[in-house]
Amino acid sequence: MTTYPIDQIRADFPILGETVRNKPLVYLDNAASCQKPQTVIDSIVHVYSHEYANIHRGVHTLSVKATDRFEAAREKVKEFINAGSTKEIVFVRGATEAINLIAQSYGKSQLQAGDEIVISAMEHHANIVPWQMLCQQIGTVLKVAPMNQKGELIFEEFEKLLGANTRLVAIAHMSNALGTINPVERIIAAAQAKNIPVLLDGAQAIPHMPVDVQALGCDFYVFSGHKLYGPSGTGVLYGKQALLEAMPPYQGGGDMIRTVSFEKTTYAGLPHKFEAGTPAIAEIIGLGAAIDYVTAVGMDKIAAYEAELLAYATEQAEQIKGMNIIGQAAEKGGILSFTLDHIHPHDIGTMLDSVGIAVRAGHHCAMPVMDFYAVPATARASFAMYNTRQEIDVLMQGIKSLIEVFG
């Protein structure tokens, strides 16, 4: 950890200096949303103060500047995930909208009744419900690959589901409820051997590890900006160009057309075909600033630092009697989901909040995962690039105290 500039990083995030209920904030709800570095906040202020106008519209100076900055953010995203072209980078509101876009555009145009979509047992509702909606609309069938008690995909069972009717695999790169990192290389190899396209839900993975979509070879990759230290309301859909070309627009409106008459409309090329209406201009420019920020630190370094944090937190948690870690996959990102004997997660959440610690308590938009472990909810501490061992100590001390209080 010696080369990791943790003090500088913490100083870059102004909110980390806040107090909550008169205690220093210990923010461990990063899997829900991450805090923002000053450079991201500044970039938004700068756009609105100096360079704001609508994009792709006017010949006037501000519109040109805003357009340049907006398209520069697209270039940054392309570089960040190593896409082949900016044509493959579609800006959306978040990972949820990206999956809905794929379900409604790709799904409705390329799939038909009886075709099967394979997901896993650890998906977020955002990678379940859009497919259920599609199934109701056109009669496709949803198949769910099971996981084991540790929260790992049972690969052999997954492979068995890839049949003659399978037309799409849609799976989390990393689970938000358990922290499991799925074996995406093997998943993609197995699916593509049968010509089945693969969508990776990267909402959780993207802030925690380097992602190279060309090396992975996935067909779609989606993520949200707000989990990558960027503004809310931003998200990215990466799709292979040939697939995106074949897909009809998701929404109609301005900016996604080439010509419009009352008789016939022709659509714009990629990626604008999928970007109807005025997007979150300043926020997407802010996402570009977030990518600059994490890139300057280095995704490899962030991944290594967070792995040490998780290992430390896990080791501490295992020593607390009555604390049960939910999700113990061998390959895991910075998420510690847990329950305490005889103490409901909501009580854990309120009690920890009273001493300044922010954790999530609930079903984490993954009710099937809660059902699998037969718990109504879990508490979840999730780590980011700016968390520290000292914060984990504060968390563990808080947990020990509340176990005592509840007796």
């Binding site: 409901h344 009580d347 609930g362 079903h363 909810a377 509840f406 007796g407």
Partner: protein, 150 residues
């Protein structure tokens, strides 16, 4: 460590959470309603025996946080022997106390239930305390379908 929470988590609440009262299935109940809080997954089933408009017995089953468990446990204690009308009045008073809509709640009238007044300061937890009472309200109105706090 949790000094700031003393108003919310009073000893009575820990006591009822550890040892919930009337925690049993009532075979001869003539009212039975399920309550559900989708936000946190709290579930309870309330059983009532009502004879001549008087609640002669009350019990519950289910799982939830300390606030919701203590709330339903206390409720089953206090409503026993009350008329339906008296129970409805208690429901309204409890609702007003926990949502803080009036400062003139007569804490004496609601007795032990006053220990739950602290949730007023925790908007995220108000539903934990009121789930039991909304379920009671439905049972008194003889509604059959499950109650949700959403």
């Amino acid at each position: 460590m949790f000094e700031d929470l003393r108003d919310l988590y009073q000893e009575v609440i820990f006591d009822h959470n550890r040892n919930p009262r009337n925690f049993r299935v009532m075979e001869n109940a003539n009212r039975r309603v399920d309550g559900f809080n989708p936000l946190c997954g709290d579930k309870l089933t309330l059983f009532l025996k009502i004879e001549d408009h008087v609640i002669t017995d009350a019990s519950f089953q289910g799982s939830g946080c300390a606030i919701s468990t203590a709330s339903v446990s206390l409720m089953t204690e206090i409503i026993k022997g009350k008329t339906e009308e008296e129970a409805e009045t208690l429901f309204k008073q409890f609702h007003e106390m926990t949502t803080g809509k009036t400062e003139q709640v007569n804490l004496e009238a609601i007795g032990k239930l006053a220990v739950l007044a602290g949730v007023r300061e925790y908007p995220a937890r108000v539903k934990c305390a009121t789930l039991a009472w909304h379920t009671l309200d439905a049972a008194l109105k003889n509604q059959q379908e499950a109650i949700s706090t959403e």
